[in-house]
Structures are given as structure tokens and as C-alpha cells.
């Protein structure tokens, strides 16, 4: 079932009904830019073109309260928008009763705003991630975290001034 749902997301621009009708025939694989989507990859949220849609499709909400527990570090100025280092850390005991289960990273005006989704377990010890992302232009980066109890909290948006846009790659 999960596989079916995922496949239904494959063809943006094709109605869900039409996609459902051909799902399983193998036709969907041909001609799609993301032909070989990995099972379970949340295509709908990643394909969303505007922030509200990307947040709705991933988190289920577009308005999340800012909490000082969610830390997002990024440079104030990035000369190369193709590789902007970001560090995410969410304050949590990370015990089996109380841990951060999911973290989403967004770039507000990238062609597809959802950049990454992280699913943590208590064994991580810390809800911590460091990676490098592409930014099309000067923009806000933001993080939303969800606890195992479903509580949502966001970082304050952080503006990164981009000298050379990085969506070429």
C-alpha cells in the first residue's frame, strides 16, 4: 500500500486518478524525471513548489511556533550558494519517552523548498545534523522539529545572503 501511495505521487501534472489507473503497469517509470524514486521517499512534499505547500505536505501544518530549543546555524553570507553549510540541533533528552522523531529543513524560495527530512531515534543521543545545501538566492532557511508525542516547534528563520546562486547543479 505504501508503495502504491508513493507511486501515485510520481507524476506531477497528472491527476491522481489517472496515475492510479496506470500504476502497476510500469508505464509511470518511462519519461519521468525522477524515474527511479526510492521506496518510501516522500515525493509529494519534495515536489511542492512553494513553502506552504511543502510544509503542508510534510508536516501537515504551515504555522509552527518558534522555540529556542530548535537551533539552526548557517552563515550570514554564503559566497557559493551551491554549498551552504547548515547545522541543526534540537534540545531534547532523546530518551525512549521523550525524543525528537522528525526534523524538516526548508529553504523558503528554492524551486522546491523542502531540502531534507530526518527521522531520528532515541539511540542518536542528540537530534543533530550537519550538511551542505544549495540556495538559489538570498533567502531564509528554517527548520521544523516534531517530538515523539507530536509536538511541533520551529527554528527562527535564518537569512543567508547568497552571492552566487547554487541551483545550477
Amino acid at each position: 500500500m505504501k508503495q502504491m501511495q508513493r507511486r501515485q505521487f510520481l507524476g506531477t501534472g497528472v491527476t491522481a486518478a489517472a496515475v492510479a489507473a496506470v500504476a502497476g503497469t510500469g508505464l509511470l517509470r518511462a519519461g519521468n524525471a525522477f524515474a527511479g524514486n526510492v521506496a518510501g521517499w516522500p515525493a509529494k512534499a519534495f515536489d511542492a513548489k512553494v513553502l506552504d505547500e511543502a510544509m503542508g505536505d510534510s508536516i501537515g501544518k504551515t504555522d509552527v511556533p518558534v522555540s529556542s530549543k530548535v537551533s539552526l546555524k548557517a552563515p550570514t553570507i554564503a559566497e557559493n550558494g551551491g554549498a551552504v553549510p547548515v547545522t541543526i540541533e534540537v534540545d531534547s533528552p532523546m530518551t525512549t519517552d521523550d525524543y525528537i522523531s522528525t526534523v524538516w529543513l526548508f529553504v523558503d524560495h528554492n524551486p522546491t523548498p523542502l531540502a531534507s527530512q530526518f527521522t531520528f531515534t532515541p539511540a542518536c543521543g542528540k537530534a543533530y545534523i550537519q550538511e551542505r545545501i544549495k540556495m538559489a538566492k538570498t533567502d531564509n532557511v528554517r527548520v521544523v522539529a516534531k517530538t515523539n508525542k507530536g509536538e511541533l516547534m520551529a527554528s527562527a528563520p535564518r537569512e543567508v545572503k547568497v552571492t552566487i546562486g547554487g541551483c545550477g547543479g
Binding site: A33, F34, A35, G36, N37, V38, G40, W41, P42, F46, G82, A83, V84, M94, V107, N110, P111, T112, L114, A115, S116, Q117, F118, T119, F120, T121, A123, C124, G125, K126, Y128, I129, Q130, E131, R132, I133, K134, M135, G166, C167, G168, G169
Partner: protein
């Protein structure tokens, strides 16, 4: 744009005290193309080619699952943490949208 693919690497301390939180750093070669950029010579769109999932386990138990978009930089670097509770093997599996799959592992002794 023939680029190296795969060649995953993991850097993790070889030993730790029980309960200590260790940092793990990783790197893999992948173009992470968006599918939105044109080839300057041919004028054709360069197809999207990017890592979509990273699955990280410790002693075969789930530790961290990651879903990536084309907004992650080429040759993706990733650092994360783990609470060292027992000796064992950390395994990472990267999968891209062209059926590419790579794995790497690293051992840690916990005392």
C-alpha cells in the same frame, strides 16, 4: 559531466565510553543534479540525479533515516551523532533515483 559516483566514506571514533555521544561524519560522491539546469553545450536539460535516501543502522537496528532533495549539495557531506551504548557496527546505505545503491560501515568498541 562524467563524475565519480559512490565511494562512500565514514569517519567515526574507533572507541568510546559507554553513554558517550560520538559524532559520525560521512561523504559520498554523487552529482546531485536538479533536473532544472541545461547542458551548456547541447542546450538539453541535465536529468535529475541525486541521492534520495540514507538509511543508517547500528547493529542492524534503525538509528537515523534521511530523505534528501536535489537541494543537497553535490558529493553530499553528512554529520550526525549517536549515543555509544554497545560495541558494534554502524552501517550506512545511500540510494539514488537511478537505482544506484552504496553502503559503508564502521566499527566502534564501547567500554
Amino acid at each position: 559531466m562524467a563524475e565519480a559516483l559512490g565511494n562512500p566514506m565514514i569517519r567515526m571514533p574507533g572507541s568510546a565510553k559507554k553513554g558517550e555521544i560520538v559524532e559520525i561524519r560521512s561523504l559520498i560522491m554523487n552529482p546531485m543534479t536538479t533536473g532544472l539546469q541545461k547542458d551548456k553545450k547541447t542546450g538539453k536539460l541535465i536529468p535529475a540525479h541525486f541521492i534520495q535516501t540514507v538509511t543508517i543502522t547500528f547493529n542492524d537496528k534503525p538509528l537515523l533515516d534521511i530523505d534528501w532533495s536535489t537541494a543537497v549539495s553535490s558529493n553530499p557531506y553528512l554529520a550526525f551523532k549517536m549515543r555509544a551504548e554497545e560495541s558494534g557496527t554502524l552501517k550506512m546505505v545511500w540510494k539514488d533515483n537511478t537505482n544506484g545503491s552504496w553502503s559503508a560501515d564502521s566499527k566502534i568498541t564501547v567500554s
